[in-house]
């Protein structure tokens, strides 16, 4: 993204205690999720974008405007930056009704038009009829909607959402996901969503950035980050379990061959690893295919592996299986199959089964 390009571009550095070394880019109309465990610096990034906190070095640009540059001595205050911010606990003005909360953010509009505009915004977040309620008289989900309406009131150049779903119960949260997903289609500004919940990020974001101890470890489309994590830390942070180590043997016939468990596995071609290199590899659960008991199934010849079912737990419509491999000393392989498949194949603790590891799903990473 060049300096002139629209959208949000952030580069921040700060020493401990709020250690930061990260970059983030978000195009107009795009939702970028900043994902990381608590304490990873996500909220500080958002505060720096909003102008509520000044990191020691870095730059914040939005829509071609320079908002912050320590080097150039530029630091616009929040009210000049034109951001819409939804705080984790909403930070609604407790003494004002929903409508007045929004009117406060409409300072640039002629006084006579503010009330009508506020009602319009409340209508947009489906709160018509509740205009005169104070925050304490609204449910958590309703408060969140007022906060979203207030954030949109200024026609912001960027919308910042700080864990906006963490303070509501599960049922409300799922309804709010739907609403935000709908709302965002109508928005033409960059949206930055901070969350510790990967599922939330996968559901709502076009791009995710993994933040860990203040460092942005990887950015990309959600499925891309999930399928091809940059390293073992990212793989663990996105919840991948099947992480093993091995050694690259050679690249042959469009595949990379990896020595592991005293045998050679075929993996997706990743020529950046040299033969002899020690490495880690990961396979997502969907890359593990169960062999049927009576007849051969898809990918039967691909990396066949045998083991004993260590545990089989029903989760929703699936059975989550942990397979103890015949190779000694290795962690179990985790994958899941639909319940009917598990039944048909006699999946139960102690059962001996065979699976295939699909080569295209095996992703190699630097040893970690």
């Amino acid at each position: 993204m060049s300096e002139r390009e629209p959208g949000l571009r952030v580069r921040l550095r700060n020493p401990a205690p709020i250690a930061l070394d990260m970059e983030l880019a978000c195009a107009p109309g795009e939702v970028a999720a900043l994902v990381g465990p608590s304490g990873s610096g996500k909220s500080s990034v958002l505060r720096a974008i909003a102008g509520l906190w000044r990191p020691a070095a870095g730059e914040v640009r939005c829509g071609g405007e320079l908002w912050y540059s320590r080097e150039a001595g530029v630091c616009l205050p929040p009210r000049v930056r034109r951001i819409g911010m939804v705080f984790q606990h909403y930070a609604l003005f407790p003494h004002l009704c929903a409508q007045d909360n929004i009117i406060e953010a409409l300072g640039e509009l002629p006084r006579a038009r503010r009330a009508a505009r506020a009602r319009e915004l409340l209508d947009r977040v489906r709160l018509a009829g509740l205009e005169l309620r104070r925050p304490a008289q609204l449910s958590g989900g309703q408060q969140q909607r007022v906060a979203v309406a207030r954030a949109l009131a200024r026609d912001p150049k960027a919308l910042l959402l700080d864990e906006p779903f963490s303070a509501v119960d599960r049922g409300t949260r799922e309804r709010l996901y739907q609403e935000l997903a709908q709302l965002r289609r109508a928005l033409d500004m960059p949206v930055v969503l901070v969350t510790h919940d990967l599922e939330e990020a996968l559901l709502l974001a076009d791009r995710i950035t993994i933040l860990h101890h203040g460092r942005s470890l990887q950015s990309g489309a959600p499925h891309e980050v999930l399928a091809h994590p940059a390293d073992v830390t990212v793989a663990r942070l996105v919840g991948l379990k099947n992480i093993f180590s091995g050694e690259l043997v050679e690249h042959r016939a469009g595949r990379s061959l990896v020595r592991c468990w005293g045998r050679v596995l075929e993996a997706r071609l990743q020529p950046e690893f040299a033969p002899g290199a020690r490495l880690s590899w990961v396979i997502p659960p969907e890359g593990v295919i169960l062999h049927r008991r009576e007849r051969a199934s898809r990918g039967e010849r691909e990396n066949p592996v045998s083991g004993v079912v260590a545990s089989a737990v029903m989760l929703g419509g699936n059975v989550a299986i942990r397979l103890a491999l015949d190779a000694p000393g290795e962690l179990p392989l985790a994958f899941s199959v639909p319940i009917h498949v598990a039944r048909r194949n006699g999946i139960a603790p102690g059962a001996a089964i065979r699976v295939s590891l699909l080569a295209e799903h095996i992703h190699l990473m630097p040893e970690g």
């Binding site: 009210r79 034109r82 911010m85 003005f93 003494h95 300072g107 104070r134 304490a136 009131a153 200024r154």
Partner: protein, 222 residues
């Protein structure tokens, strides 16, 4: 019933509040937000009138306002009259001994406002003055009412400091509290009792306002 003393006390209380309100707001808000090394010391100094015997405070104010002090001389040069044993001196003393009664409730009220509320106001594009006027002040209102009521009642009732700095000059420095003392000294128990009842009623009324205000403020989700 010494109406002159009574009116003088009301006049003193009114002027004290008029000066204390802006000063208290300014200092209390600054203290609520400020982070600096000597802050506990500043807060302790402001709280001194709460723990110091009124005669001790009165003695120091008398020395500080007197003709020997820089302040006393400066005042005398500027206005042609001394500061001690005058209404103006009494007013200055009243403002000083009421500082903790005014500042502490207001400071607590500002401190109780979550920082995100202020930040949200900034993000909504509000200018600092409007944040103060529309957001902070209404939220700190119960603290402000408490501060005004406490200062008012305390000014009516203060005895030691008034006697030390102002003496007992009718129409100038003899407040109702001093008048009660004078009447008791003169064995006029009827007048002393009458004035005491009036003072009691006013104090109870004022404190009730503070508690009713507090109860209403507490009912809000602040």
């Amino acid at each position: 019933m010494d109406w002159t003393a009574f009116l003088l006390s009301l006049r003193l209380a009114a002027w004290t509040l008029a000066i204390l309100l802006p000063v208290g707001l300014l200092v209390a808000r600054a203290l609520a937000h400020a982070r600096f090394a000597g802050k506990p010391l500043v807060e302790a100094a402001l709280a001194l009138p709460l723990v110091l015997p009124p005669t001790v405070l009165g003695y120091y104010l008398l020395v500080a306002f007197g003709g020997e002090s820089a302040l006393g001389r400066l005042y005398e040069t500027a206005f042609g009259r001394p500061l001690v044993f005058t209404f103006q001196g009494l007013l200055l003393a009243s403002v000083i001994f009421n500082l903790p009664f005014a500042i502490q409730p207001i400071q607590r009220a500002f401190e109780a406002i979550a920082p995100e509320i202020r930040e949200a106001a900034e993000c909504c594009g509000l200018k600092p003055w409007r944040i103060f006027w529309r957001i902070e002040l209404p939220l700190a209102w119960p603290g402000l009412v408490t501060a005004l009521v406490l200062s008012f009642a305390h000014t009516l009732g203060e005895f030691g400091v008034v006697l030390m700095v102002g003496g007992s000059i009718p129409g100038e420095t003899r407040t109702v509290a001093i008048a009660i003392y004078d009447r008791v000294q003169g064995f006029d128990h009827a007048a002393a009792g009458m004035m005491s009842v009036v003072l009691l009623a006013i104090s109870l009324g004022a404190i009730s306002i503070a508690y009713f205000g507090g109860a209403r403020g507490g009912g809000r989700d602040v």
